[in-house]
């Protein structure tokens, strides 16, 4: 029987330390515990230590192009709902979605727990009609004279810190964030300067999955599993090279709590025809998206991409702490993932694919096959990660070995523990 090779093939060189993991000595190499993914008590700590202290991406500016455009964002993990709105002054603000009068949720339709979007001039409470301007000021109280010495200036909506980077709207639920958004994102992420605004075609998926958010996220930050879990999806995946030798990530990089993995490409339809499913050959698209590069692709890659400066670069998977990812593809489109915990063993998973405007039916169909393929892969992950959650919750096994290809999983695990420990220490000192 053939032995698995013990060293990475020479086309995937590793750092001088011998492995990617040892290049970042703080990570260690020991087996890790996933207690943090099965403990309701740990989840309670994460809510405070991470989701009420880190900058969280809640959307993009294109969702509220016009003055008065708004959307609501349910953040069960922080037990709140936010209104994100573009004011008459074009400034984007975030407010807690709560009327100052008697605490009614201010903006919702039909189902109080569902997110909505729209355009308006002011927010009016369904309960007693109090009205708020788009900048959060309370502008109207019905029967104001019935209230006792009330000053409307003191009853504006409660703001949340809100900043924008490259069109991505971030909020921070801390009273006073310890870092600005730019400081939080750090040099590796803020090096990215990408024409996001040109990719206007948005496809938005949402799933409700019975798995811890980190257990789920881990599957989307390693390329060790695809040839196996997704091995039957197309001939590239079932390629004997990957089946026997495994798949290697070309480049890993860590900056603070954030991380990136880069892999080679598979786009462009350059492989022999038998390496594609029949539908892929007709639609000229597949797992790596449309084969034809979009109009944003030029000879020069946008700044910040391919940080390892690899020759056969195909994609970057940037993982922005805690629960946001951007995946850039060589053919000029991008994906975002959001992992929103709703319990210690449940999450809302959102995936958004953004493409350039199609010039004709053929380009639209290529996008459609790309996003259909995402669903076929993601659903396999969804089913499997519910099974992983069950396995972990049995506690039959308590520590788990992570390979060098799983360095990003190890890093997230460590950063989550670090943030929780830091929060506990600051509480103890207070």
């Amino acid at each position: 029987m053939e032995q698995s090779p013990t060293r990475a093939p020479k086309q995937y060189p590793k750092p001088a330390e011998g492995t990617w993991t040892e290049h970042y000595p703080d990570l260690g190499t020991a087996p890790v515990s996933y207690e943090s993914s099965i403990s309701p008590e740990f989840y309670e700590l994460e809510r405070e230590a991470i989701f009420k202290r880190a900058w969280l991406n809640v959307g993009r500016v294109e969702q509220i192009r016009r003055k008065g455009g708004f959307f609501t964002k349910e953040l069960a993990v922080a037990r709140t709902s936010l209104i994100v709105v573009r004011g008459m002054d074009d400034k984007i603000r975030a407010f807690h979605n709560v009327c100052r009068h008697r605490g009614n949720k201010l903006v919702w339709t039909d189902h109080p727990a569902e997110e909505i979007s729209g355009t308006c001039r002011q927010f009016s409470c369904k309960y007693h009609g109090w009205k708020y301007d788009l900048d959060g000021r309370l502008s109207y109280i019905l029967q104001e004279g019935e209230f006792f010495g009330i000053d409307k200036a003191e009853y504006g909506l409660v703001p949340a810190h809100c900043e924008v980077w490259q069109g991505f709207i971030f909020v921070n639920l801390a009273k006073q964030p310890t870092q600005t958004l730019t400081e939080f994102l750090g040099p590796m992420i803020t090096a990215i300067d990408y024409p996001f605004e040109k990719l206007t075609e948005r496809y938005y998926y949402r799933g409700d999955i019975r798995s811890n958010w980190k257990v789920f996220l881990d599957a989307f930050q390693e390329f060790y599993h695809p040839p196996i879990l997704h091995g039957h999806q197309n001939p590239v995946m079932s390629n004997p090279e990957y089946q026997q030798q495994g798949y290697y990530t070309m480049h890993f990089q860590i900056d603070g709590p954030h991380r990136v993995g880069s892999t080679s490409g598979g786009a462009g339809g350059l492989l022999p025809p038998e390496m594609y499913n029949p539908i892929e050959r007709v639609m000229r698209s597949g797992l790596f998206g449309p084969w034809e590069p979009s109009e944003i692709v030029t000879d020069k890659l946008p700044p910040g991409l391919n940080p390892g400066n690899k020759k056969r670069w195909g994609l970057d998977s940037f993982q922005i702490f805690p629960n946001f990812a951007i995946v850039f593809w060589e053919t000029g489109w991008y994906l975002t993932y959001h992992y929103w915990p709703t319990a210690h063993n449940r999450l809302i998973f959102e995936a958004n694919a953004y493409f350039g405007p199609p010039r004709n039916v053929r380009e639209r169909l290529a996008q459609q096959l790309g996003i259909a393929t995402i669903k076929e892969y993601a659903l396999q992950d969804c089913g499997t990660l519910e099974a992983t959650q069950m396995g972990l919750e049995s506690r039959a096994v308590t520590t788990f070995p992570l390979g060098d290809q799983e360095l990003m999983c190890r890093h997230l695990n460590k950063k989550v523990n670090d943030w929780v420990r830091d929060y506990q220490r600051s509480r103890a000192e207070a």
């Binding site: 019975r210 007709v282 995936a351 039916v361 053929r362 639209r364 169909l365 259909a372 969804c382 089913g383």
Partner: protein
């Protein structure tokens, strides 16, 4: 005689139009899950060989100004994409090992 749903050039595909010209991904995916492999194989065998011809036909129109019958032809191709996974890969309507997990397209551009 009922009015034809598809462009005249594709009248031989009329028999699929009523059921498979669906406006949104959730409708198309639900249709896949509720169909038998026999139904999907027949649909695939009829549409797939005509796909390139249909694309060439549809490319003549501006994407955002498709006549109704052309839009339905496009929707038939969208259904072909979802059906192709069942026919070419899984040989069953649903993805193996996916349990009760859901992952739904909530927003997609038109057309």
């Amino acid at each position: 005689m009922s009015e034809s749903l598809l462009p005249p050039q594709f009248s031989d595909l009329e028999r699929f139009a009523e059921e498979w010209c669906l406006a949104s991904e959730p409708e198309r995916y639900a249709k896949r899950l509720s169909s038998t492999m026999g139904q999907m194989q027949a649909f695939y065998d009829a549409i797939f060989p005509r796909a390139e011809e249909a694309i060439v036909y549809l490319e003549k129109f501006p994407l955002h100004d498709l006549p109704d019958d052309a839009l339905r032809l496009l929707q038939l191709l969208y259904s072909l994409i979802l059906v192709s996974f069942a026919v070419e890969i899984w040989r069953q309507p649903y993805i193996p090992d996916t349990g009760t997990a859901s992952f739904d397209l909530k927003l997609e551009p038109f057309p």
